[in-house]
Amino acid sequence: MTDLTSAAKAPFSLRTWFTRLERQDRSVVVAYLLIVVLIAAGTLFVTPNFASPTFLLQQLRQASFLGIIAAGQMAVILTGNIDLSISWTLNLAAVLATSVAAGQDSQLIPGLLVGIGVGVIVGLVNGIGVAYLRIPSMVLTLGMNALLKGATVLYTGSAPQFQKTPEFLSQLATQVLWDIIPVAVLVWAAISLLNIVVLHRSALGRKTYAVGNNEVAAYLSGIRTPRVIIGAFVLSGVMNALAGLLIAGNAGRSFNEMGEAYLLPAIAAVVIGGTSILGGSGKYVGTVAGVILIRLLDAGLSIMSVTPAARQIIFGLVILGMLFLYGRGERVRT
């Protein structure tokens, strides 16, 4: 085979640059472009305030809960798996944390530890089941979700629970610093920074992409693939637990079914952001874009008083539309 000699320098063309981008980068560009389009459309059709920093930051605050969950889900999806135990991990973590903290800031630390601990344990169980017992993640996390729901229902139903959140958590979820920046967004930003560094600059991140791409080859190259998988699930568990605490803080209390509305949007955000559902490729900033897109869409439709029915339909159509924009998966042939 001959190597191609480098082509003569052609004038820079936006279109060529765009088509030459790897799929994962292309999706990020499209996603952010769409955010701009949405903001513009929102300003024109919904309310002139749409583009104002106050409004946008408000939306970012709301989006941060989904964003934290999506960060964890992305890690799992990158390894070629999926985490369907989001809803009730979140829920159980919040319920146990508020119960232990009993509304007192002084009891905050034990409460937090218990909450995050739930996330860690769930992540470990999921990760070990998938990595060592080779149970398909879809099935295992589904079962875990059912189990956690049972545990939560049992716990909250059998005896009076303390559900009000300690002041600190409520502050964390709702407070706005200097009248502009919501603290929750800062939390999300910190987590995002961590994710970007780990996924794109660290050895663990490289191994994660390798495992998602071809687990056998990664394993035969000396990578401890079970650890990578378990790590991803533990991250997801912790993210879910953290999000649960914040969601409870936002509402002032923990309550059953608080996590139901987050599963599908989290997966959608990851996929809209350009991560392949099969694993092995995707950029974290894309996931962030996906979360913001979903949030802005929801906000806009809600302000326009669109019915829940129409909102669901639009949500589905948007996901499909974006996927078509990104270019499709490889056709399978030998």
Binding site: M1, T2, D3, R201, S202, A203, A210, S221, G222, T334
Partner: protein
């Protein structure tokens, strides 16, 4: 520009004036950054068994895939019996009578043999439902016709060994009564007996005026069956000759485009060596029994024997892939319990495995040359867990340079490289680990002659630097040419150890068949 020297083979002289059965004209095909075919031309006449030879990356597989409709060329024409016939899909090719058999089987593992063969148009009853009885009968008839008596039509493909799967694949192709059968390394796992059956069928086809394109690295088979030979190099047609008109070394020269150097690097004289690896009583039911041997520093130890005698499993076992394996392993005197490849590759043990299938086991095709090269040593180019890009780049460039990997850039997807270059990346990945014991599973399979030689030189140089190498090869020539010692496995045991001048093709084959030095059969089962 290479010119095509067409000499008309004997059978074809009779029908001068008749257009070739299949002709490819000026076919060009790019894959991402690499060019597989450059204005390649090829012609195969009726009633011919036409061998197509060339290094890997020469374009033979690409050309036949174009003919078979699996790949659509960037430019060029396909002409069937004088008529231009565009082929855009396997269905098109099939309609024109072209049927391929590739080394990658096109079988569905969870379906039965009969279902696989007639999947495209199974016999149906009046209700439009599949008639299972007719399906079975048709399969039995086909097998009877071909002489493949030992394959069970109702067996699931997943229940069959590789050799039988290849036979099913061949039968499936033949069931279409092709005008042109393409065999791309389709006999690699067959026994001698089965190869003869297939050859018989191919000769019958030829006598009926139909043709076969036969791609194989095995010169013995090629010489036995083909009447015409075409050589490809670097994506172009280099020459076509009647079989026997060209000598082997001339042909090899055409294939690699340069004078053939001595095939194997010189071997050092047999000598005492410090033991690097000591294996005692290694057992893994039911495949490996009581295996004991040593590998010294600087030694290349070959594994020989018939297929499936445990050679691959032995390599796996040493690399930590087998559970419930008993026995003792010592590396440099230290007993080791290796329970995973990660453990095997760890400092102190430093094993490396070049696996059998580079595309699915050795490389991550979707990732770049750079990412693949550092896959086993990524932890060594980090600082506080973060990748040090400078050190990573230096390591990758070292690999590309040392192994002479031909790639457009470090970021090229390894999936776009030729087979030889892919294997170089795999080996280079392990070189970075500074391993001291290399386990090689048929490293030169499906690799062009030039790269093979580079691999041989590398192996000897590693050995000279003190590494130990266990070299499992399915080519006798390689075992004879490269190894200081050869262990011939028979029924999961080391049947015979050959040292130095004892290593001859004859001795290896004899031992492989379970015959002792006197040629007598020996009962090894206790």
């Amino acid at each position: 520009m290479a010119t095509s020297t067409q000499t008309v083979p004997p059978t074809e002289r009779r029908e001068a004036g008749r257009p070739p059965l299949v002709e490819a004209l000026k076919v060009t095909k790019h894959f991402g950054g690499t060019v597989a075919l450059t204005e390649a031309s090829f012609a195969c006449h009726q009633g011919s068994i036409h061998a197509l030879v060339g290094e890997n990356g020469a374009g033979k597989s690409t050309l036949v895939k174009v003919l078979a409709g699996v790949i659509v060329p960037d430019s060029g024409q396909i002409i069937i019996n004088g008529q231009p016939s565009p082929i855009h899909s396997p269905a098109d090719a099939s309609r024109l009578g072209i049927v391929p058999v590739f080394q990658e089987l096109s079988l569905m593992a969870t379906l039965t043999v009969a279902e696989n063969i007639f999947i495209a148009s199974p016999p149906r009853n009046a209700l439009g439902l599949v008639n299972r009885r007719a399906l079975r009968q048709r399969t039995e008839q086909l097998f009877a016709d071909l002489g493949f008596h030992h394959v069970d039509p109702d067996a699931l493909i997943s229940e069959l060994p590789l050799a039988q799967r290849q036979l099913v694949e061949i039968a499936k192709a033949l069931s279409h009564q092709p005008q042109l059968l393409i065999m791309d390394e389709g006999t690699s796992a067959l026994s001698i007996h089965d190869v003869e059956l297939v050859f018989k069928v191919m000769r019958r086809m030829r006598d009926e005026g139909r043709s076969v394109i036969f791609i194989s690295h095995r010169m013995a088979e090629v010489k036995e069956i083909a009447d015409t030979l075409t050589v490809f190099r670097d994506g172009r047609h280099v020459g076509s000759f009647p079989m026997g008109d060209v000598r082997e070394d001339e042909m090899v020269q055409l294939m690699i485009g340069r004078k053939l150097e001595q095939a194997f690097p010189p071997k050092p004289a047999p000598q005492q060596r410090a033991p690097l690896l000591e294996v005692k009583n290694l057992t893994w039911e039911p495949t490996l029994h009581d295996i004991s041997f040593t590998v010294g520093k600087g030694e290349i130890v070959g594994l020989g024997g018939l297929d499936g005698q445990g050679q691959g499993e032995l390599l796996f076992g040493l690399f930590g892939l087998l559970r419930q394996m008993r026995g003792e392993i010592r590396i440099e005197g230290q007993p080791q319990r290796i329970s995973s490849p990660a453990a095997a590759a760890r400092a102190g043990i430093n094993l490396a495995l070049i696996p059998e299938d580079r595309k699915t086991e050795g490389l991550i095709l979707g990732m770049s040359v750079s990412d693949n090269a550092t896959l086993a040593t990524i932890d060594r180019v980090t600082r506080f867990g973060l990748i040090d890009r400078k050190r990573e780049r230096a390591a990758v460039e070292r690999v590309i340079e040392q192994m002479r990997v031909r790639t457009p850039s470090r970021q090229t997807r390894t999936g776009n490289l030729s087979g030889g270059n892919q294997q170089k990346v795999v080996i280079g990945k392990w070189l970075l680990t500074e391993a001291r014991l290399y386990l090689l599973h048929d490293p030169s399979r499906g690799i062009d002659v030039g790269t093979k030689q580079e691999i041989y030189l590398l192996m000897r140089s590693l050995a000279d630097q003190g590494a130990g190498i266990i070299f499992f090869s399915t080519e006798l020539q390689e075992l004879v040419g490269m190894c200081d010692r050869v262990l011939v496995l028979y029924e999961g045991r080391i049947f015979r150890e050959l040292i130095g001048p004892e290593i001859t093709q004859e001795n290896i084959v004899t031992a492989a068949l379970g015959l002792n030095a006197n040629g007598e059969s020996q009962k090894t089962k206790t």
